[in-house]
Amino acid sequence: MAGIIGYGAYIPRYRIKVEEIAKIWGADAPNYKRGLGLEEKSVPGPDQDTITMSVEAAKKALRRAGIDPREIGAVYVGSESHPYAVKPSGTVLAEAIGATPDVHSASFEFACKAGTEAMFVCLCQVESGRIKYGLAVGADTSQGAPGDALEYSTAAGAAAFIFGRDHVVAEVDETYSFMTDTPDFWRREYQHYPRHAGRFTGEPAYFKHIRGAAQGIMKKAGLQPKDFHYVVFHQPNGKFPLNVGRQLGFTREQIETGRLVPKLGNTYSGSSPMGLTAVLDVARPGDRILLVSYGSGAGSDAFIFTVTGRIDEVRDKAEHTRALLDGHKVYIDYGTYAKYRGKILKAE
């Protein structure tokens, strides 16, 4: 059976606290922290982007997979912050890890679910027998306009997964996607920051689609919430994944392992895939995992994984995601953040 044979995550070391952002805008930090369930978020350094973070995460995935990168037949990158509007991210990534030239590549974009789209297509390529191994990455240096509620959550990070039929650490038992035309969040061409429809991004958007995908895949698989050891939802803030989990009948314990957002922020295309890496870091053979992404516009991809005995051999071959999140942190002030994120530019 096809599945994940190697995985890895990457988080930049810079962090900014909610208080630091709230101070600039005169906002009520304790209320924001409670309301959003957020404490701090990751910030990419000035020399980092979706491609550099994808390379870092992919290298870890390769170490865990233990395969020759030349056997990778597809490199897919899902992001809404591809550094180039025209020029693929996957070419740089494939070159950097030594997967060229016998490789297919594509860039995916579907708001915050581009990462799971890349995973889905990679899986299908492997299952069809068209390729032996495929690499799928979800990565973003998310954009939030200064002073917008999004600025407290938009973060940077990447998760990479190699799919194959041998050396599998997490078999894919089932997939399901749920999609409608729901305009809750968008960024038009040439615009730097996304726009969103406020509270409309909640119930009719995030909650409806995640519930639809989760209920759909459980029905398809004949499973109940209690049949899963872990569940990972897209995590735009700390509250939404807990609320949707409660609505679906999952316990906080099932959600908590993969809920990175309070200290990480929303890494958009990297969000739920990074949560999955944190779960795989601690999962035991036989554990069943549900993953449900969400992308505005709007849709959700759902996957059911069963962890194999090989997990114990690979998990320590690269740094665990929680260690990336909790270690090597450098806190920056808003001025540094503004400079690193290109919100202010040095005069020529």
Binding site: D28, G35, A197, G198, F200
Partner: protein, 386 residues
């Protein structure tokens, strides 16, 4: 003038963020519910109360739109606007049409679809109820204006921050018994005091919400109602309206709504009633401080004692004068143009004994008070079962 009765009333089934419904859907549902309740299928005239559908959804000409989508063409249909008192003013126009003999059966509706825009746009649309040139353009919003009223009331009468909270707590306790309410659950004083600050001293739980909703009532002569209805006949004893300065800074007294006091005096005279005759009231609690000042201006509570009234339970269900049994604007929701008509819906049901878990036992005389802006306009109606 002919005696006028409320023959039927209705709301759309649930107020709140109605993402799947448009302005016309909400209105038509409420209107059909009222027509069903009244047992009539044709009307002579339609009056629609709506504050600013133009700014919220880009649609004007609501009379024609609603007549068309209700299948009531060629009935006369007109939109009435008096900011947040649009619903009350529309009801008054319907009353005048029937009382004057110009029409026999009139449908009065109120509607607002507020969630198609974001928070900033909604704040701007609502600020159009203030004096744009002298208030809104200088940056003050409605929470800011009502915060000034609250500060003045606290300073002059010793009203406390906790007493403001008690108004919201009481209205949520009532709204928890109203299945149509946007927020049908209870809150505590501690919840209010810990909620996000909006405009000191008002916190978010002192403020009525942004709501999609509609309400409707069918009016006819009392004689017609006696023939058509098997239910207790709810007579409109009084309909009164008054105006005051549109800008808060032009008032002689920040702690008083002159338009409410004036409309109330006219209404009590017309009805032949006194404040102590009122069994149940629905008033305009757009902010907690508003209910306090309004109850004083209506003479239902002694001047300066509005805060104590909420704290002591005097205005709660079971108290001396239950106020906002529907949950009020705070818990039931505040789809601006619908509010004044929805107050009539609640009072008509109370007087017919149909209010279930929130019924005021033996209620015979009820009052509604609907207010525009910071009291630039007020409409008061008094009802009695006959």
């Amino acid at each position: 003038m002919r005696d006028v009765a409320v023959l039927g009333v209705g709301l759309n089934s649930k107020w709140g963020e109605l993402w799947e419904m448009s302005l016309r859907d909400i209105f038509v549902e409420a209107a059909l519910n009222a027509l069903d309740d009244a047992g009539v299928d044709r009307v002579d005239s339609i009056v629609v109360g709506c504050m600013t559908s133009g700014l919220f959804v880009g649609q004007e000409h609501l009379g024609s739109l609603m007549s068309d989508y209700l299948g009531m063409n060629p009935a006369a249909a007109t939109r009435v606007e008096s900011a947040c008192a649009s619903g009350g003013a529309a009801f008054r126009q319907g009353f005048l049409e029937v009382a004057s003999g110009a029409a026999d059966i009139v449908l009065v509706g109120g509607v607002e679809k507020m969630t198609d825009v974001g928070g900033d746009e909604a704040t701007y649309a609502l600020s159009a109820a203030s004096d744009m040139e002298y208030e809104a353009y200088h940056g003050i919003t409605f929470p800011g204006l009502y915060a000034l009223i609250a500060r003045a009331h606290m300073h002059r009468f010793g009203t406390t921050r906790e007493q403001l909270a008690h108004v919201a707590v009481k209205n949520h306790r009532h709204g928890a018994r109203n299945p149509a309410a946007q927020y049908p659950y209870e809150i505590t004083v501690e919840d209010v005091l810990a909620s996000v600050m909006v405009a000191d001293p008002l916190r978010v739980l002192d403020c009525s919400p942004i709501t999609d909703g509609a309400a409707a009532a069918v009016l006819c002569p009392v004689e017609t109602a006696r023939k058509l209805s098997k239910k207790p006949v709810v007579k409109v004893l009084a309909s009164a309206q008054a105006s005051s300065t549109i800008a808060l800074h032009s008032r002689k007294d920040l702690t008083w709504f002159e338009s409410t006091a004036e409309a109330a005096q006219k209404a009590y005279r017309m009805a032949g009633k006194r404040p102590e005759d009122i069994d149940v009231a629905e008033v305009h609690d757009c902010f907690t401080i508003a209910e306090i000042v309004v109850l004083e201006a209506l003479g239902l509570v002694e001047r300066g004692k509005g805060g104590q009234a909420a704290e002591s339970g005097m205005t709660a269900l079971g108290g001396k004068i239950p106020v906002n049994t529907s949950g009020g604007l705070k818990s039931k929701g505040h789809p601006v143009g619908a509010t004044g008509v929805a107050q009539v819906v609640e009072i008509a049901r109370q007087l017919r004994g149909e209010s279930g878990a929130r019924q005021v036992e033996g209620a015979r005389v009820g009052l509604t008070q609907n207010m525009g802006g910071t009291g630039g306009s007020s409409v008061v109606h008094i009802f009695e079962t006959v």
